[in-house]
């Protein structure tokens, strides 16, 4: 995958990756390799996300090395496919730690995979940052080596639900969730019922939440049951590819209501499911996002994704591509600032230095502003409440997942 000179310039100018400054300090790490692992689901139900993640990472690798590397060291990425299978993700963490001897890992993508892979990273004393997991407590349960460049869904819903309630006059909502996805189960059965109660919204199907399994094509019975309850809005706790099935069925049954869900709803595919139905979600990046760094990233990565084999030629970068881009940027920031030597004998110490750098990350600017990590290992960063309707996402609110004195 060759990047045009213009793309390289755009990316360097974005300032997310520390290329320009790295060139100025070239030499200290000359001849060495910055070995970073990545676990992405390039096959399986989230293949689109995984393949786009991989293409984004290759772009970053080319950009960094094309600009001379970081202090003379070349970036070498080891990208593996876990097919969104937890056991495979755990095995890959072990392989990256022992065989490839990477400094740190970007991934895995799903909370289900993180729940199994993070303990292995902890055991191997290897920093790992997930690009997508947002099930509450997944990183917190695997401290101190697990991190997530995402925000807890519960934090995000504290902004999204009041917006839903006031904008669409919602007094009663019903829940449907994917019973085979860890993040969706958490969101649908625990977070949302609690949040709805907290915000004075009645749960129409309390005690009998509607559910389906990943891969189901028919949710007509569940939607008929929801329709019978006549809620003002529907909570759909699922990733976008499953949510498309629910939203299409809702529209087919003439049940046109606002749909709210977690970050996995953000995609261009869901906008095509029922363009007239408002879909309320949260994001830390979305295609079309305003802001200099975000726009430059979008401009650079979009053509790369669209010419990547196995991806649609109309694809837009996802939030998780942006997160991957930031994760590599954060690791390179650590290489520059944390006294990393990249010597084989120092591998264990270097991994520890990266972890220390992540815990006290203060000066890294992502695509939407500064990024820090809270004591639970989750990102403190800017997020947006967005509405998807008529083929595009529109930003409605902006917030910060502030923790203590860490702000955006």
């Amino acid at each position: 995958m060759l990047l045009s000179r213009r793309s390289l310039t755009l990316l360097a100018a974005a300032g997310v990756l520390p290329v320009a400054r790295a060139q100025a300090q070239a030499g200290r790490l000359a001849g060495r390799e910055i070995r970073i692992g990545a676990i992405v689901p390039s096959s399986g139900p989230f293949a689109e996300w995984g393949r786009a993640n991989a293409a984004t990472l290759r772009m970053v690798e080319e950009q960094v090395n094309g600009a001379g590397g970081v202090e003379g060291a070349k970036l070498k990425l080891f990208i593996y496919d876990d097919a969104a299978r937890p056991a495979q993700a755990a095995n890959l963490v072990r392989k990256l730690a022992d065989d490839d001897k990477v400094l740190a890992i970007a991934g895995p993508l799903t909370s289900s995979a993180c729940e199994v892979a993070f303990p292995v990273a902890n055991q191997a004393k290897l920093p790992a940052i997930s690009q997508a997991s947002s099930k509450p407590g997944t990183a917190a349960a695997n401290r101190p080596w697990a991190f997530r460049n995402t925000i807890d869904e519960a934090v995000l819903m504290r902004s999204a639900l009041p917006f839903l309630k006031t904008t669409y006059k919602v007094a009663k909502a019903a829940v449907i969730y994917d019973a085979k996805d860890a993040n969706s189960v958490s969101l649908g059965t625990r977070i949302m019922p609690e949040m709805l109660a907290e915000h004075g919204i009645a749960l129409a199907n309390a005690g009998n939440l509607a559910s389906f399994n990943t891969g189901d094509i028919d949710v007509s019975a569940q939607v008929t049951a929801l329709k019978g309850l006549n809620p003002d809005a529907v909570v759909c706790a699922a990733d976008y590819s499953q949510a498309v099935t629910v939203i299409r069925e809702m529209r087919r049954q003439g049940f046109v209501k606002p749909v709210i869900g977690g970050t996995p709803l953000i995609s261009s595919a869901i906008l095509r499911a029922a363009p007239d139905m408002p879909i309320i979600s949260t994001a830390t990046y979305y295609a079309g996002q305003e802001g200099e760094a975000a726009k430059r990233f979008t401009d650079a990565v979009t053509p790369v994704l669209r010419r990547t084999a196995g991806l649609p030629n109309t694809i837009e970068p996802s939030m998780y591509d942006a997160h991957m881009y930031e994760i590599v940027g954060i690791y390179l920031d650590a290489v520059r600032k944390a006294g990393i030597t990249l010597a084989d004998a120092d591998l264990e110490a270097d991994r520890g230095r990266i972890r220390g750098h992540l815990e006290h990350l203060t000066s890294y600017n992502g695509l939407s502003g500064p990024i820090h990590f809270n004591p639970d290992g989750d990102a403190v960063k800017t997020y947006f409440v967005v509405v998807g309707q008529n083929g595009r996402w529109t930003e409605k609110l902006r917030g910060c997942s502030t923790a203590g004195n860490l702000t955006c």
Binding site: S43, G44, P45, F46, A47, E48, A179, K180, N208, L209, A210, S211, F212, N213, T214, G215, D216, I217, D218, S220, A221, Q222, T224, A225, G228, S241, V244, T245, R248, E249, R251, R252, Q253, G254, S267, A269, R272, A273, A274, P275, G310, L311, P312
Partner: protein, 291 residues
């Protein structure tokens, strides 16, 4: 709402019936569980929806889906069944499973893992049934399911091809001595079952207006349950078992959630196997007349 759920259950049952037909033909006649049928159903759906999106007429899309799935069915037979015909039964079962994994991977590489979606207003017409309604696509699926079961049953029972297929099922060697071209007819059975799966795929894709590469797995397993409940030696059995499973699934998922639904459907299958191993409409003896 009860009537609407009955409509939902009958439609879902027709979906399973359509896919189960493909399984039933090869299983009932040749005694082979061709697991690749589930993915031929998915491929058929993709081919059909791709052509519909390219503005080809619906009949062309259906015929193309049936044709592609039939050809792939023959490929599966040549690659995964024929070389292993004399091997223990588990061998062709596993080789067709391998084919299904390959077909799914091929679909992901061609069409991606995102759902392939039709415009929301395609086949959007609905008929009012008082407290419930039924869509045009649902009517078509139910009608086609009944029609295809009848055609296939007549084909197997009345036509010379059907008689030859049943002769192969009884005793392949004797059938060959009587002049039956066993190899060609086995290929024909795989082709017909593939075509049926392809037609099911495009109709179901039209009904849900979307399809994903993973649609075959869950639907395929339910279709196998339908075939077993109906009786593996009975084509008509799937027409009884399909709606039964559809209704059980609809009412169990509404009142017990997705986990209870699978418990109910596969529990029903186990119950039928325990009480009537040959299935609801299956013959008692191994060599009982098929249909």
């Amino acid at each position: 709402m009860l009537l609407q759920q009955v409509v939902n259950g009958l439609t879902l049952g027709a979906v399973y019936t359509l896919v189960a037909l493909g399984f039933s033909l090869v299983m009932g006649i040749l005694g082979v569980l061709n697991l690749a049928i589930a993915e031929l159903f998915m491929i058929g759906g993709y081919v059909g929806l791709t052509l519909v999106l390219a503005d080809y007429p619906l009949p062309v899309a259906v015929l193309a889906a049936a044709g592609v799935a039939a050809v792939l069915g023959v490929v599966v037979e040549k690659v995964a069944y024929q070389p292993l015909r004399r091997a223990p039964p588990i061998a062709p079962l596993l080789s067709t499973l391998g084919c299904s994994v390959i077909l799914q991977t091929v679909a992901v590489n061609i069409w991606g893992s995102d759902p392939l979606q039709l415009p929301p207003d395609l086949l959007d017409m609905r008929f009012d049934l008082g407290q419930a309604s039924i869509g045009l696509a649902q009517v078509v699926i139910i009608a086609v399911a009944v029609l295809l079961v009848a055609i296939l049953a007549l084909l197997v029972q009345r036509s010379s091809v059907g008689q030859a297929l049943r002769a192969i099922a009884e005793n392949r060697d004797v059938a060959r001595l009587l002049g039956v071209n066993a190899g060609r007819l086995t290929s024909a059975a795989f082709a017909i079952s593939g075509a049926l799966a392809g037609i099911a795929g495009v109709l179901i894709g039209l009904h849900y207006a979307a399809i994903t590469p993973y649609v075959g797995v869950e639907t395929g397993l339910k279709a196998i349950a339908v075939m077993v409940i109906g009786g593996t030696t009975s084509i008509w059995g799937v027409l009884l078992a399909g709606p039964l499973v559809g209704l059980v699934e609809v009412f169990s998922v509404v009142h017990g959630g997705a986990a209870f639904r699978d418990f109910a459907v596969y529990g029903l299958m186990i119950l039928v196997l325990l009480l009537r191993p040959q299935g609801l409409l299956g013959g008692r003896a191994a060599g009982a007349q098929r249909v």
